[in-house]
Amino acid sequence: MGLSRRDFLKTSIAASTAATVGMPVAKQAAAAVKASEAGWQWDKAVCRFCGTGCGIMVATKDGQLVATKGDPDAPVNRGLNCVKGYFNGKIQSGKDRLTQPLMRMKDGKFDKKGQFVPVTWEQAFDEMERQFRRVYAEKGPTGIAMLASAQKTIQEGYAFNKLFKAGWRSNNIDPNARNCMASAVAAFYSVFGTDEPAGNYDDIEYADTMVLWGANMAEMHPILWSRVTNRRLGHKAARVINLTTFRNMSSDIADLEIIFKPQTDLAIQNYIAREIIARNAVNWDFVNKHCVFATGPYDIGYGMRPTDKFAFPAEKDVQERERRVKLDKYEAIAQRRTEGEIVEQKNTANPAAHWLITFEDFKKAVEPYTLDFVAELAKGDPDEPLEQFKAKLKQLADHYIDPQRKVVSFWTMGFNQSVRGTWVNEQCYMNHLLLGKQSQPGNGAFSLTGQPSACGTAREVGVFCHRLPADRLIPNPAHRAFTEKQWNLPPKTLNPQIGSFYAKILRDLEDGSVKWLWVAVNNPFQSHPNINHWLKAARELDNFVVVSEAYPGVSAKVADVILPSAMIFEKWGSYGNAERRTQHWRQQVMPPGQARADIWQAMEFSKRFKIKDFWGEQKVPGLKAEGYEDGKLPSVLDEAVKMGYSPEDSLYKVLFATPANLKVRWPDAVAKGHPNHVATLLGDGWFPEKALWQEYVPFTRGDGKDLADFDVYHGDKVRGLKWPVVDGKETGWRFNEQYDPYVKKGAGFEFYGKLFKAIPTGDLDKVTDPKPVSVAGKAKIFFRPYAAPVEQPDANYDLWFCTGRVLEHWHTGTMTRRVPELHRAVPAAVLWMHPDDAKARGLKRNDLAWVESRRGKVQIRVETGGRNAMPRGYTYAPFFDEGVLVNRICIDAACPISKESDYKKSAVKVYKA
């Protein structure tokens, strides 16, 4: 009697699973696998969701996806997948997948007040072009913008960056990574002079203590968490410390849970620094050789608008703090000032300025952060005894300071999404540097990322309003000149003025300075804080909004044109994860209907424009740069003609289908029979994803950011490579001579990043000698003080409100909500609150309540149990649910240095609906 098909399949699945996790497989089972997978083609790929970068294997048969499994050879996840990763194969085939361009129409014509009607790509592009030309003629390069994404592939990010900055001479392109990683970037720049972490995930298997600072890894990075739990259980000395504002799933395995008051992480970090000095534990050999001390201004505002002209009446009192702040008791002590003092915010325009100080000044600055002071300020659970909290803080310091322990600090949005996000990142390095516990296996401060290519696409390609590829910056003339040379542009084609950052693009849309907006692979009208303003700007004002999307989310709903996008396995691409690992994949299946890759959208649209449309003189309000007339970009057309261009050349020809790129031909053996719908549609015989990759990599080489050639990543044995890739070898730990070829021989360590490495000298309050001093090769140990959140609970809005993700959903849920099983596990967002707080408001579990802030209100169900436990005074709701737009509530204050929004600290009131 033969096995039934079901039993046969089960045997085969078990054998495949065993093989994937490295267990031996019986001969008979191996035969079952072979038979049931007949005709399947397995290929390596990458998970589309968080920043961990798990490898997955994808099987196709007859052009259809038939199975996915964890990639046993992927060093990141070693065969495992989390619940989100498990659905990579399904997210592409939702019934409501957008498969045709849609446009708002009335009487056969585009009409902002019309209903969505299917149109052809030609019709959609015609209207986009017409509106683009209208706005560009009126406003110039600053009137158009793109809200880009850390979920674009590297090549897509590169193509849009080039189209905006070189073609349209506009720096108004900024990614959703701004709201996710910008504070981490700003601190990498200020401390090390170069972006991205020194360490990698292998730190987990070397560490003795792992400290989570505002990172609920159990829910947000489950596969890394499985490595953390393995280390905790398999290594006797290993300990996990969870610092958080409420009990979450990561506390389940934590040895020490520290519940602190929002934003007092700034004070706790300084307490640790003070302890390091008090216990004589500074690693002076490391500090003297490799570090300097620095500080900057405190009066930098909160990243809000400089005017309250657009504020709702209820917002005005908080808005006032952008101009002047009355110091509370704790800030006064923490900043060595007087309680009640009014501090004018004089450094909002230049918040990142910093200067050298002495160790003596540094020591004086951390002196007020005693255990008594910090414990009183920071204790987050009103029901916890103060002495117990003090003992925990002391234990935390013990772990960092113990010379026998290797310590890794992990963080994500708890640090980054803060009005002092850059400062608290810098403080984390402060303690690791003081102890010399940095850039070594198991020792280091490690910034995790939330999106699959925040590093690869947004940061490395520089898809930001102030960046160019590979750590180059718009305001730097040498960086612009280098980029112009690489891109074959006439000198001064690039706009020297920083564009609008993510939040500012939305503010510009509200105040009429941006009128044409393209949104791709992100959902700003659900995910950006204080959305009541932006929804109005998109729908009620004379603005034109294009949204490239795979599914109908909130942003698609408020668009004027919706372009249907190809999803991950329907196109060629590459992502870069949080440990500098770059991974590529091939197109596996064709996109449905007329959906097409964003890179095709960029290039096809670029065919409609000529260089003469943009490379003549352009007005740029406020432009001021050396070598430029105020308010103007010069004409570069004459120079372009000298270089062999014709004014009639299309942007497509000049930027993308260049003679060099056309030599990279499609089809290519590297495809191994896989399709490429972009190459096929363009039809001129080149391989855009490979050609643009090869055009991009010279930016990275010789500068500590080296990427390998396209075909290398597609090698059968390669599972991504951690840059810098030098002589074919990846780099495990940056800045450490043992691992990093960029470190000078004999130096031991060298913090060789080049940005912000010549700074003035001063004391704790000001610059005393403006002459720049070189700090080449050194990392900066910053003193940054505690500062109170810009909005805190008061008599009227009496509770804290914080938002974030949950395990089953990802960001705004446009993909994961399409999978009904995920939808049902967490059917709608709930508001977690303490049972006593609920009771005091006449509420119980599952009751419908209003949550109201100065900015808006939403209805939501109350949850008093479940996976998160709030201390009294705190509430939390995730932001994935388009039925509960919690960003109607959230404040749009931001870190003034990084411009990253603070989603974690709004004040609300809650009452029965």
């Binding site: 089960k10 996790v21 996915t68 399409r818 009904p820």
Partner: protein, 105 residues
């Protein structure tokens, strides 16, 4: 048919009881056990995908289970994922193309 391959790790000293508890779960079959390291491979069959996710959560909640994660997902006979679309996403009738009602409401 919802079939998935799940990797489970248990402390080796508890292996026999974990295996027994796994086999007692509806739809769960233990296929392979490595006694030295505590590694187990199970195949789970569930009526629908919510049941499958719940099943994984049940496995994770068993005493002495250290890790339980999905490894293998069989899709081939399982293309009808969207029987149960949320009401606001049900498409409009339109001969040209389906425009989700959500976009125009």
């Amino acid at each position: 048919m919802n079939l998935s391959g799940i990797f489970v790790a248990a402390k080796p000293e508890w292996l026999p009881s974990v295996v027994a508890e796994l086999n007692a779960l509806p739809g769960v079959e233990v296929h392979q056990v490595d006694e030295a390291t505590g590694r187990i491979v199970v195949v789970q069959e569930a009526a629908d995908i919510p049941a499958e996710i719940e099943g994984l959560k049940r496995i994770k909640a068993l005493p002495h289970v250290v890790t339980a994660e999905m490894v293998y997902h069989y899709l081939a006979d399982d293309r009808q994922v969207y029987d149960d679309l949320p009401a606001e996403l049900v498409e409009q009738d339109s001969p040209a193309c389906a425009v989700p009602a959500y976009l125009n409401d």
